[in-house]
């Protein structure tokens, strides 16, 4: 267990330390949200209708940003060999890495999301739901995104490839989150959307580490 703790601490320090950690994703998210009114006009009715959806989609896109380096960095400098021969199976390493990605990128994004949706004329009552869907959705985006990062190991132009590989897999969580937000906005019960989103996130956390480990072993082979 000591090894796993050391790994989690290391992953967190790498995620928060190098490359500005959440700053990069937050800056991207903010600029995306800022550009919407410039592109689509600013009258509150239109913004109010489109705003939460765009804020939610922005969350998914922003979580793609620092994914490429999740495994690539260790793969390039030989640390992945060490991690593959460690005291815990590679699946646990993948879980720790994706978890650190969630804490370093998706969680801060979820906390910042209300600011974005307010800016896009969403009612203030939507804030708790925005954070909740941001956290649950963030979990799904981090783990499915981590899978894309592992699959793209050793490929050229990895960042773009991760997006192309991963975005189709984002369809269900995006639908569920948007449905929950929509329901909350017009007063009906967001429970179904949230439950579905939570189910998808749980499946992602449970299943993707297996595929991530297989992808890493494939890249090391």
């Amino acid at each position: 267990m000591k090894g796993l703790n050391a790994l989690i601490r290391r992953e967190l320090s790498l995620a928060y330390g190098g490359g500005g950690g959440p700053l990069l994703a937050l800056a991207f998210y903010a600029s995306l949200v800022a550009l919407l009114p410039l592109a689509a006009g600013r009258n509150p009715q239109m913004l109010g209708a489109v705003g939460p959806g765009v804020a939610w989609l922005g969350l998914a896109l922003a979580s793609l940003l620092s994914l490429e380096r999740l495994f690539e960095r260790d793969y390039e400098d030989g640390a992945l060999d060490l991690l593959a021969m460690g005291p815990v199976p590679l699946e646990a390493v993948a879980l720790a890495k994706a978890g650190a990605q969630f804490l370093a990128v998706n969680a801060p994004l979820a906390v910042a999301a209300p600011v974005a949706s307010i800016a896009l004329a969403a009612p203030a009552s939507l804030i708790p739901m925005t954070i909740l869907t941001g956290l649950l959705g963030g979990l799904a985006f981090a783990f499915v995104g981590g899978l894309g990062a592992a699959l793209a190991l050793g490929a050229k132009r990895g960042g773009l490839l991760v997006a192309v590989v991963v975005l189709p897999l984002f369809a269900p969580p995006v639908i569920f989150g948007a449905a929950a937000l929509d329901a909350a906005r017009n007063g009906s019960s967001p429970v179904t959307g949230l439950l579905l989103l939570a189910a998808y996130a749980a499946a992602a956390v449970g299943l993707t580490p297996i595929a991530m480990a297989a992808a890493c072993r494939n890249a090391l082979d």
Partner: protein
Amino acid sequence: MRLPRQLEFLSLPDRFMAVSAWLAPTIGALAVLLLEFGLWFGFKVPPDYQQGATVLIMFIHVPAAWLSMFGYVCLAVSSFLSLVFRHALADAAAKACAPLGAGFTALALATGSLWGRPMWGAWWVWDARLTSVLVLLLFYLGYIALRASIEDENRAGRAAAILALVGAVNLPVVHWSVNWWNTLHQGSSVFRVGGPTLAAVYLIPLLLMALGYTAAFGALWLVRIRAELWRRKARTLSLQAANR
């Protein structure tokens, strides 16, 4: 003493090459036959009371949409065999299958849009079925992109196989979630495709066309696998020549 040329040639997975040599043209011929009958019957059906003659487009749209899903099943099965049993032939089959499946998916979207245009007055409507076929196309493109951007062929094959299996697990979820999403935004799409409401007279040509499409897919897939195996054989030979 060197192997005579024929035996040398058979060093490929010979049983497959020998079998597919006659199987591919046979299935191809069968496909042509089925498609001819399908079209012949098709153009004899009465116009639909609602859709008029555009029901003819259904005969080429529905089989293409069916093939887009069937193609992904083939891709997932060959990926599973290649990943779990490290079967080189299955890997070649998966690589050969993806562009084919993507092609038929794109065809399904194009014909679907042409079919929907007179009904809905728009070239593209976010109808549940068309949307999940579109996401399926994105899965194909993700597979092809992943496989194309990793140089080492063996590693690319295995990474893409993992993605295909993850995709196969996710597709039912995507399909269900898009349908659920459709019920939330119940738009104007009253457009019913296939299913019990279809008049019997349309079923025969539709079935013939679907079988014809599937046979064509099978024949093309075999041809593409043969091409892939020859390409690999040529690469091995040229590598050996370089090292001699």
